[in-house]
C-alpha cells in the first residue's frame, strides 16, 4: 500500500486521541470498526481524489469541517479537516459523531473549535490511531 496522506487525530487535554476516546465510548461493534477502518485506509491511500464522494461537506456552515460517512451497525460520522498545516498531504480527525434520525449527536462547531485550538497549539494532535 502506498501511503499518500498523513492522518492525525486531535488530542484532548489528557493528550488522548479524541477519536479513540469516542470509539471506546460509542461502543463500536466489529462491523462498525471494519467499515470505519476501510474508509480511513482509502483516505490514507488516495485522499479524497480517487474514491468519489469520500468526504461529505463542509458541514453545517463549518468551512473546514468534513465528515466521513460510514453505514454500519451505527451511522458513524467522524469529522475531520484537510491539513490544517499541509492542506494537500494530510487530514486531521477532529471529533467523533454518530447520526441518529438524520441528526448528528455532536455539534460540528465543536470540530471547528478543535481545529482552531490545533492551529494555535501545533502539538495538539498525534498520528491517527487505528480502531
Amino acid at each position: 500500500m502506498i501511503v499518500a496522506f498523513g492522518l492525525y487525530d486531535f488530542t484532548d487535554n489528557r493528550s488522548e486521541s479524541v477519536l479513540s476516546v469516542w470509539g471506546r465510548d460509542a461502543g463500536l461493534t466489529g462491523r462498525d470498526r471494519g467499515a470505519l477502518n476501510l474508509k480511513i485506509d482509502l483516505l490514507e491511500m488516495h485522499g479524497s481524489d480517487l474514491p468519489p464522494k469520500m468526504l461529505a461537506g463542509p458541514i453545517n456552515k463549518q468551512r473546514h469541517v468534513y465528515k466521513l460517512i460510514i453505514h454500519a451497525d451505527k451511522m458513524l460520522r467522524p469529522m475531520l479537516c484537510r491539513g490544517p498545516f499541509d492542506m494537500d498531504a494530510e487530514f486531521t480527525f477532529l471529533l467523533g459523531a454518530i447520526e441518529r434520525n438524520g441528526k448528528l449527536d455532536r455539534d460540528p462547531s465543536a470540530a471547528t473549535a478543535n481545529r482552531e485550538i490545533l492551529l494555535r497549539e501545533k502539538g495538539r494532535r498525534i498520528r491517527h490511531e487505528r480502531f
Binding site: T29, G30, N37, P52
Partner: protein, 182 residues
C-alpha cells in the same frame, strides 16, 4: 507483504470486522470503478446516464462510495455501456488485503471490447514475420523444425554461418531472429 497487509490480515480474523470492512470496500470499489472507467471512456455522467437509461443525477448516485443499493441489472447495464463484462464472484477474506493494497486508478481501468488484446487475432508466427521482413533465402522448414519441441539443440545454419542454441520460449528466439537477419 506490507505492514498494512499484515495488520489487515490479522484484523480480518474477526468475523464481524471482516464483514464490515469487506462490504464497505465492495461499495467503494464499484463506485470508484464506475467513475474511473467513465473517465477512461471520456464520457460525462449525463452521457453515461443516457446509455444506461438514467439521468446524470442517477449516475452521480452510483459514483458515491456510500451507495450500497446495487442491483445486478444496473451493473449489467453499466457493463454494456462500458463494453466490458460484469464479473460477480464470491471470494475468501484472505485475498482482501492484497486487493485493497492494489486499489488504484490504473488497476481499476478496463479496456473496451474493441481494444481488448485478449480478443485480438493471434500474431503471425515469428518465423514468417522474419522471412517476410528479410526475403533472403532461408530454409524455413529447417528453422521451423529447429524452433519447435522445446529442446535445446546445437545448430548450424548454412545461410548465415551462425551457430546458436535454440530453446523454445526463451530469449533464444530473439537470438534466432538476429542470426537470420545477418
Amino acid at each position: 507483504m506490507s505492514d498494512f497487509e499484515r495488520t489487515l490480515k490479522w484484523e480480518l480474523r474477526d468475523g464481524e470486522y471482516s464483514e464490515g470492512y469487506a462490504e464497505s470496500f465492495l461499495n467503494s470499489y464499484i463506485a470508484t470503478q464506475i467513475k474511473v472507467i467513465r473517465e477512461q471512456r471520456e464520457m460525462t455522467q449525463a452521457e453515461l446516464g443516457e446509455r444506461i437509461g438514467t439521468t446524470q443525477a442517477g449516475v452521480s448516485r452510483y459514483e458515491n462510495v456510500n451507495y450500497s443499493s446495487w442491483s445486478i441489472k444496473t451493473l449489467i447495464r453499466l457493463a454494456r455501456a462500458f463494453h466490458v463484462r460484469l464479473k460477480v464472484s464470491f471470494e475468501p477474506f484472505g485475498s482482501l488485503p492484497e486487493e485493497v493494497a492494489r486499489f488504484n486508478r490504473k488497476n481499476l481501468e478496463r479496456v473496451k471490447r474493441e481494444d481488448d488484446p485478449g480478443l485480438m487475432e493471434e500474431p503471425e508466427p515469428l518465423l514468417e514475420a522474419i522471412v517476410e521482413a528479410h526475403p533472403q533465402p532461408v530454409d524455413t522448414a529447417k528453422w521451423k523444425a529447429l524452433t519447435q519441441g522445446g529442446q535445446k539443440r546445437e545448430i548450424s545454419e548454412g545461410n548465415s554461418g551462425v551457430q546458436s542454441q535454440i530453446e523454445e520460449g526463451s530469449s533464444q528466439q530473439f537470438n534466432l531472429e538476429e542470426a537470420l537477419c545477418r
